[in-house]
C-alpha cells in the first residue's frame, strides 16, 4: 500500500552548506531525482519520513577535470553523462552504462549520487566506478572525506556513509587501459540488471561485477590471476570464488554464476 505523502516532511536546501546543516540537525534522507524514492513510496517500502531536497543545489552539478581527475557533481544525471565530451574521452564505459539505465525519462532525472547512495547491488554505474577506482566524496558540516567506492559498501544496501553526510561528488582518476562494459538485463531497454560487469584492460587489469553479491564486487583475486598470466579458464574459476549470486525474481544463482565467468572471458577476448 502506498505510503501516505501527508506524513512526509520535506525541507529544501538552497546550498550545500544549507543541506549539511539540515542533515546535522536531525536524521534526514537526501533526495535528488527521486526516481528510487517514489518507487519505494509506491510499494510501501519507504522507511524514512524526513527528507532534504538537494535537487535545487546547482553547486552539485557539473562535470569537470581537475588535476587529471574526472570530477562529477553529485547531481550529474545519466543524460549529463551521455552528453559529456569529458566522460566520452575519459570514461566511455560510464556512457555505455548510462545509456542502459532506464528510459530517457529516468536518464533525465536519475543521478550518480542517487545510484551510489541507494546501494542497490544491481546499480549499473557502480561496477564502472569500482573498476575505475572511483572515489566518493562525502561531506558533513564537520569534514570532507574521500572513500574509494570499493570500500564504500559494508553490506546489502549499507555503506560507511554517516547520517550527517552528503555525497557531493564522484571522482575518477585517469583510467589506464581499454574500458569494457556489459549489462545483462531482463530486456533491451529499461531493465534491471541480472548481472552487470565493467573491466579495464591495462597494466593491471580490473574487473567489477554487480548483481552477483550483496554489494558490488571488485574481483581482486581474479585480477591478480589475470595479471600474472593465468589462463583465462583458470581465472574464471577464481572469479566464481569471489561472487555469491542468489536466485531472485529476475534470475537464478546458476545463471549468474555461469554468465559471470563468460563475461570475464568476453572482457578478456574483446579487450585483447
Amino acid at each position: 500500500m502506498r505510503t501516505a505523502i501527508s506524513g512526509l516532511d520535506l525541507r529544501r536546501a538552497t546550498s550545500v552548506d544549507d543541506a549539511l546543516r539540515m542533515l546535522a540537525d536531525e536524521a534526514r534522507t537526501p533526495i535528488a531525482g527521486a526516481t528510487d524514492f517514489y518507487v519505494a513510496l509506491n510499494f510501501g517500502t519507504l522507511a524514512p519520513r524526513r527528507f532534504v531536497d538537494i535537487w535545487g543545489i546547482d553547486d552539485l552539478r557539473g562535470i569537470d577535470v581537475r588535476h587529471d581527475v574526472l570530477v562529477m557533481g553529485a547531481l550529474t544525471t545519466y543524460t549529463d553523462i551521455i552528453r559529456s565530451p569529458l566522460v566520452a574521452e575519459r570514461l566511455p564505459m560510464l556512457i555505455d552504462a548510462a545509456r542502459q539505465i532506464g528510459g530517457p525519462q529516468i536518464q533525465n532525472r536519475g543521478t550518480i549520487a542517487g545510484n551510489v547512495a541507494n546501494g542497490s547491488p544491481a546499480a549499473d554505474a557502480v561496477p564502472v566506478f569500482a573498476a575505475a577506482d572511483a572515489v566518493v566524496v562525502l561531506r558533513s558540516i564537520r569534514q570532507e572525506r574521500r572513500v574509494p567506492i570499493t570500500q564504500f559498501y559494508t553490506a546489502y544496501r549499507t555503506s560507511v556513509m554517516r547520517a550527517d553526510e552528503l555525497i557531493v561528488a564522484v571522482e575518477v582518476p585517469r583510467v589506464d587501459g581499454k574500458q569494457w562494459f556489459r549489462k545483462v538485463g531482463t530486456r533491451a531497454a529499461q531493465a534491471i540488471s541480472k548481472i552487470v560487469a565493467a573491466g579495464v584492460r591495462g597494466a593491471s587489469p580490473k574487473f567489477a561485477l554487480g548483481s552477483v553479491a550483496p554489494t558490488v564486487v571488485r574481483a581482486y583475486a581474479t585480477e591478480r590471476a589475470l595479471a600474472s598470466g593465468t589462463p583465462i579458464e583458470q581465472a574464471a574459476l577464481t572469479l566464481t570464488r569471489e561472487i555469491a549470486p542468489i536466485d531472485d525474481v529476475r534470475s537464478t544463482a546458476d545463471y549468474r554464476g555461469q554468465v559471470a565467468q563468460r563475461l570475464l572471458r568476453r572482457f578478456w577476448s574483446e579487450t585483447n
Binding site: 502506498r2 528510459g103 545483462v184 531482463t186 534470475s251 546458476d254 555461469q258 554468465v259
Partner: protein, 699 residues
C-alpha cells in the same frame, strides 16, 4: 468513396491523441469515496476473525453480509464469491471492502484477519479438482499408432502471462434513483450487468456504462464484474459514488492471467512424413475458481491438433483447480498454449525424420475437403497452404536456414489457425442483437460491443456506412450503456467484426430498404427517426454436438504463418528477435491500417510471451508484480515486422471479413522456439528466458 477497405480516420483517434478521451480514472464525482479491497494473505484456509483496527470516522466497511442478492460472480459456473465468507481458496482473494473520501485515510486502515491455514495445492498435475474435461475422438488412435512407422512423443509447457493493459482496472459506481450506475474500464458491460443482477437481485435497476478503455486483451472480460460488484456494494452502503482503482501491483497480483499449460503429444508418423495418429493430452491450470476455464479449455483442445489433417486423433483435455488466483481470458483463449505445443512438436517430428520442416508441414497441412479433429470439413476458406507458401517464399526460409547454420542467427517458422466467434453452438445460444438508429445527423450504431483499442467503433461504422451507401462521417457510435444499446454479446473471441459486424450489415441493409432511396437526413426530416434491431443468425449449415465435440467448431478460421529471425548471444544466451514476417489470412480487412495494427500488436505480445514474460509464482502469488520485474517488450525489444495480409473472403462475414483479433498471438512463440531449436537447444517450454536456455544447454 467506399469506407470498407480503406484506412479511414479512427472515430476515437483525435480524442486519444489530444488527451481529451475520458477514461474511468478521469471521472471525478462530487462526494466520491475511494474504495479499497482487503485481500487474503494466505493461499488456502479458513477465516477465523476479521477486525478493522481503530475507529476511523467516515469509513465505510462492507463484508459479505452486506450483499442483498447472491454472493457469486455469475459467469459459467457460480463458484466464485464477490467476498469470502469463510473459505479462502487463493492469495489476494477479496474479503472486506473499505471506502473513505480521503484515499490516504482508507489506505492507512489496518485490518487484522486470523486464519486457520490449510495445505495449499499449486501443482496442477496433482490436482483432483476437475473444472472441466473434454474428449475429442476421431478414428482409432491406438490402432493407427500401432501401425505407424515411428512414434514421436513430447511434453510442452507454457507459463502464465499477464495482460499488462497499460490502464489498470478501474470502476466507478454511483447510486442513481432506484438503482445504481457503474462506469468502468470493461470489455463486456452486459457480463457486468448479469453479475450485478445476481449480486443485487433481479429487480434492481442497474446501468453499466463502458468508459474509454486502456487495453483489455481478455483481462477486462470477466474480472471487472468482481470490481463492479465491490464498488456497487460500497456505493449502496454509503449512498455516495465510489471509485475503485487498482494500482499496478494489485492489478497484477489479484486479477486473471493466461492459463499455464502442460500438453503431451504422442504422434504416429509414416516414413514419408504422413501423420497418421495424434494423441494429445491438454492440462490447464485454472486457478482457484472456474471462471472461464471450461471455454478456454474448449478452444485450446479444438486447436490442439494444429492446422493439420489426421484421420486418427484423440484430444483429452482437463482444466483443474489449484490454490492460485483464477486464470482467465487472454487473447487467444487456450489456443496459444496448444498451438505452441503442436508447432514445436511438428518441428521435433521433422527433426526425428531428418525431414525439412516446411515439407513436413506441406505434406500434412489442411486443405479444402480435409476434416479437422472435430470432423469439420474444410471449405475453400481454408488457407493453410496459401499462408505457408507465401511465408516460405517471401522469407527465403530454406536458404536462410542453411545460411545461418553455425552462426549466432537462426530462423524458425510456425503455421497456425484460429477459429472466429464463439465455439460450436455458442453463437446460437448467445443470440446477439444489434441495433442502428436513424437520427437527424445520419445513423447511430447502438451495440454493447466495446472499443478497447482494436477499432470497434471505426470498423462498425465503416460496415454500416457502406451497407447504407452513406458517408462514413454520417455514422456515429453510441457509448455502450446497457440501458441504451442492444446486447451484441461480449467483446471477445474475434467476433466483433465478423459476427456483430454482420448483424450491423443486415441492420443497415434493412434500413436502406426502408429509406427507399432517400438520404437519412431527408427521411428523418420527413418521417422522423426509426430503429432497426436484428439478431444474429449463424450459418444454417453449422452442426455441433456439445457432448461429443463433433463437427463444426467454428463458422470459419483465420490462418497464419510466422517466420521469426533471431540472434542469440553465445555467452548470455539472450535471444533477440530481429525480424518477424507475419503472413495472415483473415478474409478481408475492413480497415487495413487497423488490421495491420492488430497483427503487429498481437505479434509483439506473442514475442513477449515467447521470450520475456515470466510470471514468478511464490506461495501461490505473483512474486514479480511490478512492471520493473514483469517484463514486456519495449521499442528496443520489438523487431522489424513484415506484415502480409492475404485475402480469402468468407461469405458469412461482413464484406468477406473473418475474425482477426486473436490469430496473431498464436504464432510467435512456437516460431521463436523452433528458431532456438535450430541452434541445437532442446527447448520445449516458454518463456524462453536465458536461465532456461542455460539449463537446457548444460543438460
Amino acid at each position: 468513396m467506399a469506407a470498407v477497405g480503406n484506412s479511414v480516420p479512427r472515430k476515437d483517434g483525435i480524442g486519444k491523441a489530444t488527451g481529451h478521451a475520458v477514461y474511468a480514472d478521469d471521472i471525478v464525482m462530487p462526494g466520491m469515496l475511494h474504495g479499497r479491497t482487503i485481500r487474503s494473505t494466505i493461499p488456502h484456509g479458513r477465516i477465523r476473525s476479521v477486525n478493522v483496527v481503530g475507529d476511523v470516522p467516515g469509513l465505510i466497511v462492507v463484508d459479505h453480509h452486506d450483499i442483498p442478492g447472491r454472493n457469486v460472480v455469475d459467469l459459467i459456473e457460480q463458484d466464485q464469491p464477490f467476498l469470502v465468507e469463510r473459505d479462502v481458496r487463493h492469495l489476494a482473494e477479496p474479503i472486506l471492502l473499505l471506502a473513505h473520501e480521503d484515499r490516504e485515510v482508507v489506505d492507512a486502515v489496518r485490518v487484522e484477519i486470523e486464519y486457520e491455514e490449510l495445505e495449499p495445492l499449486f501443482d496442477p498435475e496433482r490436482s483432483e479438482g476437475i473444472l472441466k474435461s473434454i474428449d475429442i475422438v476421431k478414428g482409432d488412435v491406438e490402432a493407427a499408432l500401432a501401425d505407424a512407422d515411428f512414434i514421436v512423443e513430447g511434453t510442452y509447457r507454457t507459463g502464465h502471462q499477464e495482460h499488462v493493459y497499460i490502464e489498470p482496472n478501474v470502476v466507478v459506481a454511483m447510486p442513481e434513483e432506484d438503482g445504481i450506475a457503474v462506469f468502468g474500464s470493461v470489455q463486456c458491460p452486459f457480463y457486468v450487468l448479469k453479475a450485478l443482477k445476481s449480486l443485487l437481485g433481479a429487480s434492481a435497476h442497474i446501468r453499466v456504462v463502458q468508459t474509454e478503455t486502456g487495453g483489455g486483451f481478455g483481462g477486462k472480460e470477466e474480472y471487472p464484474s468482481m470490481i463492479a460488484g465491490h464498488a456497487t456494494l460500497l456505493a449502496l452502503k454509503s449512498g455516495r459514488p465510489v471509485k475503485i482503482l487498482y494500482d499496478r501491483g494489485e492489478d497484477m497480483i489479484a486479477t486473471t492471467k493466461r492459463h499455464p499449460s502442460i500438453v503431451r503429444h504422442r504422434t504416429g508418423v509414416m516414413r514419408d512424413g504422413r501423420i497418421v495418429a495424434m494423441d494429445v493430452d491438454v492440462l490447464l491450470d485454472g486457478g482457484a475458481y472456474s471462471t472461464l476455464s471450461p471455454v478456454v479449455l474448449s478452444r485450446g483442445c479444438i486447436h490442439a491438433a494444429g492446422a493439420y489433417r489426421c484421420d486418427n486423433t484423440r484430444i483429452r483435455g482437463r482444466a483443474v483447480a489449484t490454490n492460485t488466483p483464477p486464470n482467465g481470458a487472454f487473447r487467444g483463449f487456450g489456443a496459444p498454449q496448444t498451438e505452441f505445443a503442436v508447432e514445436v512438436h511438428i518441428e521435433r517430428i521433422a527433426e526425428e525424420l531428418a525431414m525439412d520442416p516446411v515439407s513436413l508441414r506441406e505434406l500434412n497441412a489442411l486443405r479444402p475437403g480435409d476434416t479437422t479433429a472435430t470432423g469439420q470439413v474444410m471449405g475453400t476458406d481454408c488457407s493453410a497452404h496459401m499462408v505457408l507458401e507465401e511465408a516460405v517464399r517471401r522469407t527465403e526460409f530454406r536458404a536462410k536456414r542453411e545460411q545461418y547454420r553455425g552462426t549466432n542467427r537462426s530462423i524458425g517458422l510456425a503455421l497456425f489457425f484460429h477459429g472466429a466467434g464463439f465455439t460450436g453452438s455458442g453463437e446460437r445460444h448467445l443470440n446477439s442483437k444489434a441495433r442502428i438508429d436513424l437520427t437527424e445527423r445520419g445513423v447511430r450504431i447502438a451495440v454493447g460491443s466495446t472499443e478497447i483499442g482494436q477499432g470497434t467503433r471505426t470498423m462498425h461504422a465503416q460496415i454500416v456506412a457502406d451497407a447504407l451507401a452513406i458517408p462514413y462521417e454520417d455514422v456515429e457510435v453510441a457509448q455502450p450503456d446497457t440501458t441504451l444499446v442492444a446486447d451484441s454479446g461480449p467483446t471477445v473471441a474475434s467476433r466483433t467484426c465478423m459476427v456483430v459486424g454482420k448483424i450491423l450489415e443486415q441492420c443497415a441493409m434493412e434500413m436502406k430498404d426502408r429509406l427507399g432511396g432517400m438520404s437519412p437526413a431527408d427521411y428523418h426530416a420527413k418521417h422522423g427517426g426509426f430503429s432497426v434491431l436484428r439478431k444474429y443468425e449463424p450459418p444454417d449449415w453449422i452442426e455441433w454436438d456439445d457432448h461429443t465435440y463433433r463437427r463444426d467448431a467454428y463458422a470459419t478460421y483465420a490462418w497464419g504463418c510466422d517466420v521469426v529471425e533471431i540472434e542469440m548471444d553465445p555467452d548470455t544466451l539472450e535471444v533477440r528477435p530481429v525480424k518477424v514476417t507475419a503472413v495472415q489470412e483473415f478474409g478481408r480487412p475492413i480497415h487495413p491500417a487497423l488490421a495491420r495494427g492488430q497483427i503487429e500488436g498481437g505479434t509483439a505480445q506473442g514475442l513477449g510471451y515467447a521470450l520475456l514474460e515470466h510470471v514468478v509464482m511464490r506461495n501461490g502469488g505473483m512474486a514479480n508484480a511490478q512492471l520493473t520485474n514483469y517484463i514486456i517488450p519495449t521499442t528496443l525489444d520489438t523487431p522489424e515486422f513484415d506484415i502480409v495480409m492475404l485475402e480469402n473472403p468468407y461469405a458469412g462475414g461482413p464484406f468477406g471479413a473473418k475474425g482477426l483479433g486473436e490469430l496473431p498471438i498464436d504464432g510467435p512463440a512456437p516460431a521463436v522456439v523452433n528458431a532456438i531449436r535450430h541452434f541445437g537447444v532442446d527447448l520445449r517450454e516458454i518463456p524462453a528466458i536465458p536461465e532456461r536456455l542455460v539449463a537446457c544447454a548444460s543438460r
